[in-house]
Symmetry: C2
Subunit: 265 residues, 2 copies
């Protein structure tokens, strides 16, 4: 499982304040904690700073990379912000995200074409949000084929089938999970990824739903997730689910996580 | 989800002692607690009392039924014990379990044939334990066809595909779950059920694995389980998983569980 640590996002109040104050220690601490708790990428998002996003994105990247070796996940729909970030990022980052919306596709494709960037490909088109498994598979197919044609290797593509709230439609959980299964079956080598919190929007005990949903998605083939690595139950559930899904030879990752105290709740 | 409460089993030390002492209050308390926490059936097992199993089974049933209206799940491979239990059980119990092992099949078939009993059909044959999804599906097919031919309605059959420890083979989790999916797809109306604890045999943090495995199995279609209803995380996971699997119109069961305090952990 590849984990993107989601905490450094300016939509979170404490992070917005830390960015505003250019509080290096605060941002570096959160980066370190996420790294220590298993993040393979550190998401960085300065999207709430309209007009100053590029400047703060660059500050975030140099701040995070001053603390950890973990690559960043550059979280912006704006190609200018992504390009500014790429200029100073050391190593190979992830881009979050391209989509099939024409404007976004046209703007970001030149940035990722022929590169070795990891690319999150969001199942969203100008027709709006996908509802069914088939909607998602169709958009995913266009995204993957379009990226591969532009020399993005399939194994660098992370399809996000787009989680929608179960409170708005009973079937949205299974439509998402069946899309994960279909995408993984149809495009060998591709990854699937998602943020989880949308699933529980509008319902109580959201953590329980998010922690449960990730387990179900892993059962259907999900191999990456954008999560809070400091949520111990979430991380423990992921370890357990991966082992139970047969992705952990001799249960050795599970046993290592246990020895490292990561399964104590 | 149909829940069989597993606690009244003589292989548990405290239960064995309570049976030995014919401690009505103790057994009735455990029956009531399981009922209040959502058990649809109360499993009763006196299997450790060799030679006295029928006598204690009868005592257990009249004791449990003196406290709750929930039907029992009569847990014995011995047709004499099952028949003795059926004589005094009020309402329609579940039988745990028939299997394809010739001796057990021949002995229990006359008891369940043409009845309205709920029957757990364990995927075990004289060839031993099943390993793959296909082994399980083949045994399940023989069990279901054999029972239906003997006038057991398909909706009274609860196939247990038999959980085996993930510590002995990395693929045992997925083989089980894929069997659940295949059985539910191939035999509309049938139920699938299982006990969970075997999955985590030989590994640390067994509760975490069991609680995670039930979520994955629900994702694949499992609609019944033999669990400890007093394990709050287990019950909360089941509520969340059912809602996420699209089995809870308007999330109403989830919201009711929340209002009843069942999702607080």
């Amino acid at each position: 499982m590849q984990i993107v640590g989601e905490l450094i996002n300016s939509s979170r109040k404490a992070i917005k304040a830390a960015i505003d104050e250019e509080n290096v220690e605060e941002i570096q601490n959160i980066a370190k904690q996420q790294h220590e708790n298993g993040a393979d990428f550190i998401d960085v998002n300065a999207g709430t700073f309209v007009g100053k996003e590029a400047r703060y994105m660059k500050w975030l990247i140099s701040t995070v990379q001053g603390a950890v070796d973990t690559p960043c996940c550059i979280d912006s729909p704006d190609p200018k912000v992504v390009e500014a970030a790429l200029e100073l990022h050391k190593g190979t980052p992830m881009i979050n995200s391209i989509s099939l919306e024409k404007e976004r596709w046209d703007a970001l494709l030149p940035v990722v074409a022929g590169s070795d960037l990891k690319v999150i490909a969001l199942c969203m088109s100008d027709d709006g949000m996908p509802e069914s498994k088939d909607d998602r598979l169709s958009i995913a197919s266009d995204l993957i084929n379009g990226l591969v044609k532009n020399n993005v290797p399939v194994e660098n593509i992370y399809v996000d089938p787009l989680v929608q709230p179960i409170s708005t439609n009973d079937s949205y959980g299974m439509e998402f999970m069946n899309a994960v299964e279909a995408i993984m079956a149809e495009f060998p080598g591709v990854h699937t990824i998602c943020g989880l919190s949308n699933i529980s929007y509008g319902l109580p005990e959201r953590k329980l739903l998010n922690q449960t949903f990730v387990v179900m998605a892993i059962c259907k083939g999900l191999d990456s997730a954008i999560i809070n690595p400091l949520d111990r139950r979430m991380v423990a559930n992921i370890h357990a689910a991966e082992t139970l899904a047969g992705r952990d030879e001799f249960c050795s990752n599970y046993l290592m996580a246990y020895r490292e105290g990561k399964l104590e709740l």
